[in-house]
Every structure is written in structure tokens, then in C-alpha cells.
């Protein structure tokens, strides 16, 4: 219930401007990492926006939290995991490849292989081999010779 009230109050808050100048870290390398990570994290209360582009207050909090973790020495995976632990895998725009999600990742390549197989079978079935028309068999050659002799 408390979470719900928090969410509602965040939704009602007047939207600010995506990444604010006061959030930016002084270390450019660290800041670049933070930006890259915040581009794959989903804002929990918006409709399909990343926390990087979102104006919601919670996104700002998440951006600041992410930076805190990075400054504290977390690796990229650790920092993202810390946020996912709290908000669930819903916030990960890149779904983790575990469990049923393997189906998602394998669907494309699997379909490509199937398409390749079916396509190849279809093309083969259309005849016309690469070397040109089939050579005459011995029997056909004999008949042709016979016809030409007449």
C-alpha cells in the first residue's frame, strides 16, 4: 500500500526535465557509463520510457542512485542488478537471458535457420541446376545419334 501511495504521488508530481545538469558526474568516464546504463533501464511508472529520457521524479531518483552505486565502485552489472532487485526484471529493457527468455533469444536465429532450410528446399525444387541443362544420358545420346544419322 505504501508503495502504491508513493507511485501515485510520483505520478502527480510536476514533471522535471530528463537528465538535469546537477546530476552529471564530474568524472566523464563514469558519467558516460551511467548514461549508457540509464538508457537500458525502464522507468517504472512511465509508459515505455527509459529513465534516461523520462521526466518522472522516480527516474531522477534512479539516475542519482545509479550514479551513487557507480561512484561507490560497483560494476555495471552490479549497479543494474541493485536496481532490478528492488523493482523486478520489469525495469530491464534488455531481458535477462535466463529461463523462458532463452526462447526469445533463440526464436530469431531458429526461424532464420528454418527459413534457410525451407528456402533452400524450395529453390532446389525449382530445378535448373547450376551447371546448366543436365547432360544427356548415354541412352539419350544414342537416340540423338540415331536421329541425326537419318
Amino acid at each position: 500500500m505504501r508503495a502504491l501511495i508513493l507511485c501515485l504521488s510520483l505520478l502527480l508530481a510536476f514533471p522535471a526535465f530528463a537528465v538535469q545538469p546537477d546530476e552529471v558526474l564530474s568524472d566523464p568516464a563514469l558519467e558516460a557509463r551511467a548514461r549508457d546504463l540509464s538508457k537500458v533501464l525502464r522507468c517504472p511508472v512511465c509508459q515505455g520510457e527509459t529513465i534516461d529520457e523520462s521526466n518522472a521524479a522516480i527516474s531522477r531518483d534512479l539516475r542519482l542512485y545509479l550514479r551513487e552505486r557507480l561512484v561507490a565502485g560497483d560494476s555495471d552489472t552490479e549497479a543494474v542488478q541493485a536496481i532490478a532487485d528492488r523493482f523486478g526484471e520489469y525495469v530491464l529493457f534488455e531481458p535477462p537471458a535466463r529461463g523462458a527468455n532463452w526462447l526469445l533469444y533463440l526464436a530469431g536465429p531458429g526461424m532464420a535457420l528454418l527459413a534457410l532450410f525451407l528456402g533452400w528446399r524450395f529453390i532446389r525444387s525449382r530445378g535448373l541446376s547450376e551447371e546448366g541443362p543436365a547432360r544427356l544420358s548415354d541412352e539419350e545420346k544414342a537416340r540423338l545419334d540415331h536421329i541425326l544419322r537419318d
Binding site: 514533471p15 522535471a16 526535465f17 530528463a18 537528465v19 538535469q20 545538469p21 546537477d22 552529471v24 538508457k39 537500458v40 525502464r42 509508459q47 515505455g48 520510457e49 527509459t50 529520457e53 523486478g88 526484471e89 520489469y90 525495469v91 530491464l92 529493457f93 534488455e94 531481458p95 529461463g99 523462458a100 527468455n101 526469445l104 533469444y105 526464436a107 530469431g108 526461424m111 532464420a112 527459413a115 534457410l116 528456402g119 524450395f122 529453390i123 532446389r124 525449382r126 530445378g127 535448373l128 541446376s129 547450376e130 546448366g132
Partner: protein, 654 residues
Amino acid sequence: MIAELGHFALILAFVVAIFQMIVPMIGAAKGWSGWIEAARPAALAQFGLVAISFAALTIAFMTSDFSVSLVYENSHTSKPMIYKISGVWGNHEGSMLLWVLIVALFGAMAAVFDANLPPKLRARVLAVQGSIGVAFLAFSIFTSNPFLRMASPPFNGRDLNPLLQDPGLAFHPPFLYLGYVGLSMAFSFAVAALIEGRVDAAWARWVRPWTLAAWVFLTIGIALGSWWAYYELGWGGFWFWDPVENASFMPWLIAAALLHSAIVVEKREVLKSWTILLAIMAFGFSLIGTFIVRSGVITSVHSFASDPQRGVFILAILAFFVGGALVLYTFRAASMQARGAFAPVSREGALVVNNLLLAVSTFVVFIGTVWPLVAEMLWDRKLSVGAPFFEQAFTPFMVALAIILPVGAILPWKRGRFRRALYPLRGALVFAGAIMALVFAVSTGHSALAVIGAGLGAWLIAGAAVDLWLRTGSSGLSRLRRLPRADWGKAVAHGGLGVTFIGISLLMAWQVEDIRVARIGEPFTVAGYEITLESVDEQPGPNYNAIIATMAVSQGGKQIALLHPEKRVYPVQSMPTTEAAIQNGLFRDLYLVIGDEQQGGGWAVRTYIKPFASWIWLGSALMALGGFISLSDRRYRVAAGARQVRAPSPQPAE
């Protein structure tokens, strides 16, 4: 009164559509010419009635008739006239009416222009188109009536969502719908052909212009939407892999596949049943798109009017049309034997590969789009699939497509040789290699994306040029002007794809971003550009209040631009929007955004240098232009078609 007239016309159109669905279909089956001929006036009448209805709603919006509840919900007296009009389709009910209008428009166009179609085929096509009209008119009348009145009309309306009050977005939906619904013509042709049990070169020739037109409109619609996102959302993103964007992208990909496979049917009478299947799927994906946008099952930035009842209705429409067509397909597909034989290395072979790549990439987009839904239903997992997934799963197919395209485009029909095709392309290959080396040399991060994308783009553009050159034979430039329009269209569209490739990859790899607090009069430097915030003023607009900044940009001590980024607040919906100031250039866009005033003084300012951004839309425009050029080819003109059709009478495909 006018609203009631519109409502009444809509109901009449529904009745006419039912007539159009049944009578010509029976006539064609029984061979009764009177019933067959009834299709044309019915199609025209249906269009006329829907047009009256649409005009009535438009008048209600233009005159701000707030007794109509839809107008109250989506309009306001102080809104500029253009947005009063675009407000008609800026909401669920009105956009559904626009959808129905376009269904009827395509039916009427088929009735008028396809005068040379065999009467029975035309009757069946119009009957199927009529049945689509019936379904969506019923949807509009029974679940989304736009003409509902309010008992006590308020003095003013609630205004249109400010994000939608923009020229780019005013015209984005009509083009998108022209594309979505245009594919219904390909569908109607496919179902009519299945009923007749006959698909031949003539059929493919009739379907192609409709598919091409639909594809061109989809291209324009998608490009407008992405351009709007680029300048309006305030940070210059152009594609988000949002479910609703994917919903328009999937029919685009399938329509592109259909365009190419219909060529094979027309020239070589192969791929018939596959082409029929694609036509069914293309419209199927249009319907899935409608379902995604309007049911709200997948949350998205765009979804409006999410309502389970409407969702179920659209799902039923989808199941009926796609399911019905597929059942018909399973019974009749076997009767559509291919005629021509071809070797693996040939134009046909290349087009088969084109189709497989486009179909599989559509599948990848589809599964990524519905995966959150599937995961929640089956495993109760709430998860998201976003840009990172699509970028890695989708891109490889586009890379493969771009590699084979220029070779496939010049391979001869029936049988070709790789070596012989590659020989004229050696110049293009060298050119693409040189571009890759150049991009590698100038990019600091040595980004693979920039090198590969630019190389593929250059390869596509040069390949399109070689294609044109080969078509001229040895007679050179004078012949170039006399080439069939279809050849020009093909080269322009393929080149346009290359331009878009370059734009996307270089923009994504080389973009520079800067976020800071800027104080008035104190210049700062971003990537060699010196930028000064000169002043910030308040200025009221027609229905909003604006804060307008004046920013000077100079390079090497010389001022190159004076830009005015804005921030607007629309009081009626108390919603802020950002209006970025962009100086478009051929090789880079300067993109400035003004944010909030800071407590310690100064303003939050974002600066972006976006290299080659305009190439994304330049390429899209070229693709659309290529489609239009191809459409204007004389083979598709009415008179020319009439002459050609009478000569070879269509043979039943055994």
C-alpha cells in the same frame, strides 16, 4: 443536427457495405451480371456516405460544437484551426472514422480505376473490401460512436494533448492509415484470387500498384512519426522500438517483401502461394497493429483509448479475417503451382532470399513486441523487451539484406553467375571499401557500427547507380532519360535505403551530447562550436505560454546560427512541452534544448551535435519517391493496362 446527419450517414454506409459484401459475391458465383455490376455503385455509395459522416465530424470540430462529447474531450476554442481539424483523428473514435473512410476510399478507387479488371474478379475484390468495411463500420458504430451528444454542453473543451498539436503529428496518422488500410486492397485481391482459384501474372500486375502505394504511404507515415519524435521529444531520439512503432514497422517490412515477391509472380509465375500468404499476413499485421494500439494490452507511449471491450472486438475482426483467409488458403494453395524454373543464383533466387530475410526480421520484431505479454500469461513474469534486444536481434538481418541487395538487383532472371554479377559492381565495392576506411580513420572510438553502417550504405547507393548504368546498355546517358520509370523507381528506392543506413549508423555512433547550466552571456564550447545563451524571454502563444531562449552558435569566431529553443506550458491540460531549436545541415544538425531555470542562476541547457541526422529522413523520402516514380510507370496507367490485359487472356493456374 449536423452530428446526427453524420451518424445517420455512417449507419447507412454500414447497410450499403453489407449489400456490397453479399450481392456481388453471389453474383460472381452464379454469373449474374446485374449482381456483379452492383459492386461498383455500392463501393462508390459507401465511400460517399462515410465521407459525409467524416465531413460532419470535421464540421463539429471546426465549429467547436461542444455538445458533441468527442469535441469536448479533444478540442478547445483557442486552438489553431489546423489542430482543430487534426483533432478529428487525434483520438480513438475519430481516428476509427478516418480508418473507415480510407477503407471505403480504397474500395471506391478500385471501382473507378480498375476498369479493366475481369468483372468477376472485380466484384469479388470489392465484396471482400466491403466485408472489411462492414467489420470496421460495426466497430465504429457499436463500440466507438464519435457522434455521442452531451446533455448539457460545457462552455469550452478539454483541449487536444499538446504533444499532438504539431504539424508533423497532424499528418502522421492519415499517412499511416493510408498505408495500413492500403494493404487491405492486397488482402482483398488475395482472397478474391483464392476464391477464384487463379493467380497469374495479370493478377500480380493488378496487386502491385496497390501494395506499392500502401508501402509508400507507410514509409511516409513512419518517417513523419520518427521525425516528429526527433524534434519534439527534446533529446533527438528517432526510434524507440516501442510496441506501437513496431506495430507500424511490421506491416512495412511485410509489404516490402510482398512488393518484391509480386514482381516474381508477375515476371516468372513463381512464388504464387507465398505471395498470397504475404498479402494475407501484411493486412494481418495491420490489424495486429490496430489491436496493439487500441486494446492497451501492451503498455506504450502511444496507446490511447485502451478499452478491453474494443480490444476484444478488434481481436474478433482479426481472427475472422486472418483466420478465414488462412483456412481458404490451406484449401486452395495447392492449386497454385509455380510455372517457371530457376537456378539458385538468379534474380528469383535473390528475391527469395530478400523475402526470407524480411519475413524473419518481421518475426523477430513480432516476438519481441508480444514477448512481455506471453511471459506474463505463461510464467507470470513481468518483463520488458526494449531497444537493446531489437538492436541485436534485428540488425543482422538488415546487414545481410544490404549485402545481397546490389548483387541481387542486377542478377539476370532464371540463371546467373556471381562472378559476372560482381564484375560491374567492382567499382561500387571499391567505393564502399574507401568509405569504410575513411569512416574508420575519422571516428575516434573506431566504432564498428559507424564503419559497417556507412560501408553498407555506400555499397547500396553505388549499387543502385551501377544498376541504372547497366540498364542503359552501351548507349550511355541519352538512354538514361528514356529508361522505364520502374527502373528509376527501383534505383532511387534502393539508394534511399542506403542513405538511411548511413544516417542511422553515423548518428548513433558520432552523436555528441552536452548537459550544463548556462548563464546568460557566458559562452561554452561543445565539439568545436561556441554557444552563448543570449537571453530568455516569456512570450504567450495562441493557446500556451512559451519561454523562448535566444542562443548564438559560432564556429571559428564566426556566428553560424541564432537559434530559439522553446519551452511551452499548455494551461488547459497543464502540460509542458519542449520545442527544440534545430539547425539542419547536410552533414550535421545542431540541436538545442532549453530546460528549467536553476536556483543558483542560469538555465539548464542541452546541446546535441547530431551528424548525418537528416540523412535518415532524406533516405526515407527517397524510398517514398522511388515508390511514386515506380507507380507512375506507364505499365500501371489505366489505358496502357487496358490494352495489355485484353491480349493474353488469363489462364487458370493448374
